[in-house]
Symmetry: C2
Subunit: 223 residues, 2 copies
Amino acid sequence: MPPELNLRISPRTVQQETVDKLRLAILSGLFQPGSRLIESQLCAQLGVSRPSLREALRSLEAERLIEIVPNRGPSIPALSWSEATAIYEVRELLEVEAAGRCATRIPTEQLHELEKSLAAFEEAASSNDSLAQVMTAADFYSIILANCGNPILEEVHRGLVARISFFRGRSMSLEGRAQSSLAEMREIFESIAAGDEKAARKASKRHLLKAKAAAKMSMNSES
Amino acid sequence: MPPELNLRISPRTVQQETVDKLRLAILSGLFQPGSRLIESQLCAQLGVSRPSLREALRSLEAERLIEIVPNRGPSIPALSWSEATAIYEVRELLEVEAAGRCATRIPTEQLHELEKSLAAFEEAASSNDSLAQVMTAADFYSIILANCGNPILEEVHRGLVARISFFRGRSMSLEGRAQSSLAEMREIFESIAAGDEKAARKASKRHLLKAKAAAKMSMNSES
DNA sequence: TCAACCCAGATTGTCTGACATTCTTGCAAT
DNA sequence: ATTGCAAGAATGTCAGACAATCTGGGTTGA
């Protein structure tokens, strides 16, 4: 038996469920940026005790999905554009690297998965469900990151993407953004499928720069 | 009064103190990798209640400084070499970028700070206090990361460096490692001082590759 | 009228105590 | 030597409590 295989069964604890539920709620945009979260309300809604909830909130705070100010409690951070820019820049660094590595090492089986997720995004792109678009696009990138050969790269990337989910949702609803996004992602896929590392990096970079520009545009037009 | 200045005074809470104390203890190597932490013991040592301690542990878990397995409780993760390699690779990505950016934008005042921290490391390098060496070297990098113009880059980097503090301590005690580290860091400093972005990237990359090699050597020789 | 002040309610920070569940460990039995 | 079991230890979770702090609205004074 390979020793690195983790056979431990982990019973899901209340705290884990709580974190997952809250994270999902936040990423789905259930809470407005800047809005405060009331412990007692969350306890009632989630059906957990205050200590358990507070542990969950500390986890989310460390993930930067919420902010906790002493004596004011937790709230959803309102990301400024400069912060979002910083995140996009680091994301670019990571994603470009991941796409490049992925091109030379992804197994064919996973390549098929990648193709499937691209198809799923194509389907979502033709609809108007921007949440589905964001989710399927995230799947596409998850597969790339999962096959770049570096789990830390994947982990850090996931954390960063989560923090800009708000912007992703808004920019995806821009007129025509989903379609051009699809074209860019297909380019990335083709490069990876061809095993062309340089092309994969280029395509990935191009995609991210456009996504960033779209996010900025959606921000300026609305805020 | 500049509106972006954060004037909120944050009273230090028990939970924050607890996190800070525990983090410092972990980074100083007070606990053996793989060893388990007992809540009741920590409560007694830190003088805090179990709920407060558990909140602190959740924060540290999210930072990946400890692991918490359900029904087994918290423990110090024993990093495998492959995980450490993955961290070093991402660190390289971030640090090289930061050094490059830093070269073109660091203010002269901060450049002096960088020089001072280099001197501090030089002092530590001539001693045998490997903990001081790790600390002063970390300061040196902190200044670079703080002046790269991207706070997210800094944040992510800090998280990663913390997780390999164990390796850093051990590799720094290798014969001659501190001295060659000093030479490499001086090279980085000179490049940044000259405003030479490309040289800064090269020097930074060289330094990190050597640090990684040293870490690997220290691992093979001992474990 | 408007600003400063102050108070009641709401909310958070923290602790104590409790109990069921699960893990660990040492001993007994096969 | 391996298995099985029981006692003790440790964790997961909750309920309740209370002080410190924040918030919003009304009152007072200029």
